[in-house]
């Protein structure tokens, strides 16, 4: 973000939030300013107590102590000043230390540093094959043209599935490769503490989201920040899954925060009569043959519900050696990371045509500005109505996630074996199955290959019907090749084998990982294909 824009954003966000605070205080039932300040103070104090390791804690303690002492006998003007200072503090913290220089650098730094970084991790490859071309490793497919067009015609919210902390790096590189300007995005504060990722976070244009901050005022600042930057034409990256999908399932319960910013920005643009008022939502999926943090994520998911950690700061992505191992594996295997761009949507979830105009389900053009008119026929925010719109665009994004899920060999093979084991032990609940791995006798390779083939055929049929996507290898459906490829991928990265092959039988290794890779294909009705008839099960 350029400096002049940065200043404009700060001013705009601050004035909007302050004005909203003052206006609501006038309403019957509104929060008086002293209560508002007190409430924010309470949330911050609690956070600082709960998180003794929080970065900048001493500074925060001093600030809030000062707020407390001033709050005691503050009159109207002083309250207003206090509020302004709090808002300013939140806004500046969200913006972080962006600078024009760093930002300009980022457009060129990333594409050059990423391959170098990868090379450093794989000296043998560098010697034998020279500089790697990332396009061998990261495959971008789908409606690339649509994304480019939307970025030209309006502002884009790119909404990817969230699998790994590497997602933002992969997408950052992909945006460059597609010739697009960098997108800004909100990244958890913990990522700025990650030795590898912090470098990219700073250079990709990330702003800071502190998920430990629970004060409603802070959340308002975040949302308004996103809204204002969208209005100023800055495209954004937003992971609607919230955090990385712990289970490996395709995310279906989405957090809608920034999607609501999309609608609000669009309405504000209409109200202000901006030339390019449109905001587009472009879902995309990232698919990895092996996932860097797979082991930690699934382990966290399987802990009793409610005990899982929202923020993980010690997973594989925080261990440089592990990251190195991952990249080595990915590069050595001509590994596949697939980024698939779905068809663009408007902020209401309608599809858009080749000219960026919204169309209904029957392909007729829609004047979407009419969706946001109030009773007087003028564009306006109507909170209840807009919440329904946000829910609807969220549902459209979730649908796109399912349809643009790319089936890789590692998912397909894990899915087949897991479903096979599950069917063979109908009385075992999930946890028992995961703990024991079934009776441990494995599956005869011929039988297994037949099931893999059947699932591949079924997946391909779904792909033909537009319900998901498959790689060429899966479409080809050669079971020996698929099993071989999956085993090689697992083995090149995971220390514990996911699946092992001994003699003419295959055995489940790490059941948690098997389950994790399996989950990506759950819910498509492929289970029947994975389960053989009773003769084969025995």
């Amino acid at each position: 973000m350029r400096n002049e824009i940065r200043d404009a954003v700060v001013t705009e966000v601050e004035s909007r939030i302050l004005e909203a605070c003052l206006r609501q205080a006038e309403l019957p039932g509104g929060l008086p300013l002293d209560v508002l300040v007190n409430d924010t103070l309470y949330h911050e104090k609690k956070r600082l107590e709960l998180h003794p390791q929080a970065p900048g804690r001493d500074d925060d303690l001093a600030f809030w102590g000062h707020v407390k002492s001033r709050l005691g006998n503050a009159g109207g003007p002083e309250l207003r000043r206090l509020l302004q200072e709090i808002i300013d503090r939140f806004v500046r913290e969200v913006l972080g230390n962006f600078s024009d220089a760093v930002y300009r650098l980022s457009t060129s730094v990333l594409p050059r540093t990423l391959p170098v970084l990868l090379n450093a991790m794989s000296p043998q490859r560098l010697l034998s094959k020279g500089m790697p071309d990332l396009s061998d490793t990261i495959r971008i497919e789908g409606d690339i043209e649509g994304l480019r067009r939307c970025e030209r015609l309006g502002t884009v919210i790119l909404t990817p599935t969230h699998v790994s902390n590497l997602d933002s790096v992969v997408i950052g590189w992909a945006l460059y490769a597609m010739g697009l300007k960098p997108f800004t995005f909100g990244a958890g504060l913990n990522l700025f503490a990650n030795p590898l990722l912090s470098f990219f976070m700073r250079n990709l244009g990330a702003y800071r989201v502190d998920r430990t901050k629970t004060a409603p005022l802070y959340k308002d600042v975040l949302k308004e920040y996103a809204t204002v930057t969208l209005e100023m034409g800055q495209s954004q990256l937003f992971f609607p899954g919230g955090t990385r999908a712990r289970s490996g399932f395709i995310e279906q319960h989405l957090k809608l925060g920034l999607l609501s910013s999309g609608i609000h920005a669009y309405i504000n643009n209409l109200v202000r009569g901006r030339a390019r008022p449109r905001v587009y939502v472009v879902p995309c999926t990232t698919s990895y043959e092996v996932v860097l943090e797979g082991e930690t994520l699934i382990e966290d998911h399987l802990k009793l519900v409610g005990k899982s950690r929202y923020i993980i700061t010690d997973d594989e992505s925080f261990r440089p050696k592990q990251v190195m191992r991952f990249f080595r594996s990915v590069l050595a295997m001509d590994g596949r990371i697939v980024l698939r761009i779905a068809d663009p949507l408007d902020v209401f979830g309608n599809r858009v045509d080749a000219e960026g105009e919204s169309i209904d389900a029957r392909g007729r053009r829609v004047d979407i500005s009419r969706y946001v008119l109030d009773d007087t026929g003028r564009p306006a925010h109507v909170p209840q109505r807009d919440r329904v719109y946000v829910r609807e665009v969220g549902a459209a994004v979730a649908r796109a996630f399912r349809e643009h899920n790319v089936v890789l060999a590692t998912n397909l093979v894990a899915f087949t074996l897991f479903e096979h084991l599950k069917a063979r032990h109908p009385t075992m609940d999930l946890y028992r199955l995961l703990r024991t791995g079934g009776d441990g006798t494995g599956v005869e390779m011929g039988v297994f290959a037949e099931r893999v083939r059947a699932v591949a055929v079924a997946a391909r049929e779904l792909a033909d019907a537009g319900e998901l996507h498959v790689t060429d290898a899966v479409a080809e459906g050669n079971p020996a090749r698929l099993v071989g490829s999956a085993l090689r991928h697992y083995g090149s990265y995971h220390r514990n084998p996911v699946i092992t092959r001994r003699g003419d039988r295959v055995f489940a290794g790490d059941m948690n990982l098997l389950y994790y890779y399996h989950n990506r294909l759950a819910g498509y009705g492929l289970e029947a294909a994975a389960v053989a008839d009773s003769r084969e099960v025995a």
């Binding site: 209904d360 389900a361 029957r362 009419r370």
Partner: protein, 364 residues
């Protein structure tokens, strides 16, 4: 829509309920266009102020103008009620889609489900038009009684508060009270499913059974509806409201209901084709039974009454045999969800399993 908020409304579909709704809007002072295909009926409504085929001699309010011009009806008003039979619904909705714009409100008052994909009517409105603000109207509303001015209530459901408010403002009157509900899935499913039990109620009446039987049918029918609705995303509480049990009582006990009539004639030994033919209007319950039966099977939802109605309608079962099967079923519990375990629980307690085995040995 605009600052002056014109007092206009449109109703698509000139059957009994569509005409009755147009009449209500007319009596509230709204210039209402009532769209229908049949030119003769258009003339009849406009010149004689009646729609005899559906509503006898009941007079229609002078603010209602019948028309066969769909484009005009679609652009005439902000609020459009769509009341065409479920079989024709998609086609009419698609035609509407050529004319409507995004700030218009479409409310379905059709109680049925589309066979293909079990789509609800409001879903079809969403799919065939650009309109987002859609809703559904459902409740104990026998058109003839409403037209005769009997007091009643109904539910308008939509995720949009604005739809509920506008429909409420326009349709509510001294004899017609509207309640809002955000659970549009539940309201639409309730409206469609109760027709199955209305047929069952008709059969029971035709066989000469009275209050006990009707009450059992309504109560157990409601349990089936709840199970089915829950599986497809409805809030079970909705079925306890006007659109659920309210509508059930009306249609299961009134001879005015077409679905009830189908059941009664069936009990008298009539053939389905002849009955439908003789009715001269659509009994939605027949199609709904087919659709619901299919999905209940597929999703393994326990619906013995719906199953029995399906057997009578489509599998040649006599009412007596369907009744016998219903009464002799194995299941003995009212609420299947809150059973206290009666059998051994696999892997739970070896001691319990051993106790059960010992008991079974003794009983043998």
């Amino acid at each position: 829509m605009s600052e002056s908020a014109p007092r206009t409304a449109s109703v698509i579909g000139g059957g009994s309920w569509g005409t009755a709704l147009a009449h209500i809007l007319g009596t509230h002072g709204y210039e209402t266009l009532l769209w229908m295909r049949d030119e003769d009926t258009v003339r009849e409504v406009n010149e004689e102020r009646t729609n005899r085929r559906y509503l006898g001699d009941a007079p229609i309010d002078p603010h209602v103008e019948a028309t066969s011009d769909l484009a005009r009806s679609a652009t005439h008003a902000e609020l459009i009620l769509v009341v065409v039979p479920s079989k024709a619904f998609r086609q009419v909705a698609n035609a509407l889609g050529d004319h409507v714009v995004g700030d218009q409100i479409l409310v379905s008052a059709t109680k049925g489900l589309q066979e293909d994909g079990m789509k609800r009517m409001s879903q079809i409105l969403r799919e065939e038009t650009c309109c987002r603000k859609v809703g559904a109207l459902s409740g104990p509303n026998l058109a003839k009684e409403v037209l005769d001015g009997h007091p009643t209530s109904t539910v308008v459901a939509s995720p949009f508060e604005e739809v509920i408010e506008k429909a409420e403002r326009m349709l509510s009157g001294p004899r017609f009270r509207l309640y809002g509900n955000f659970d549009i899935v539940g309201v639409e499913l309730a409206g469609a499913l109760k027709n199955i039990y209305a047929i069952a109620g008709g059969v029971a009446a035709g066989l000469g059974f009275a209050a006990n039987t009707q009450s059992a049918l309504i109560t157990r029918g409601l349990a089936e509806m709840c199970r089915f609705g829950k599986r497809f995303g409805a809030d079970p509480a909705t079925f306890q409201g006007l659109a659920g049990v309210g509508d059930m009582i009306a249609t299961c006990t009134s001879t005015l209901s077409r679905n009830h009539t189908v059941g009664r004639l069936l009990a008298g030994g009539g053939k389905l084709e002849d009955i439908v033919e003789s009715l001269g209007m659509v009994a939605e319950g027949v199609e709904t039974t087919r659709v619901v039966h299919h999905y209940a099977r597929r999703e393994r939802i326990y619906m013995p009454i719906a199953e029995a109605v399906h057997r009578m309608l489509f599998e040649g079962a006599t009412p007596e045999s369907a009744l016998t099967t219903l009464m002799e079923r194995a299941s003995r519990y009212e609420d299947l969800d809150s059973l206290i375990h009666t059998g051994p629980v696999a892997g739970d307690s070896v001691v319990e399993s051993a106790r059960l085995a010992a008991l079974n040995r003794r009983l043998e």
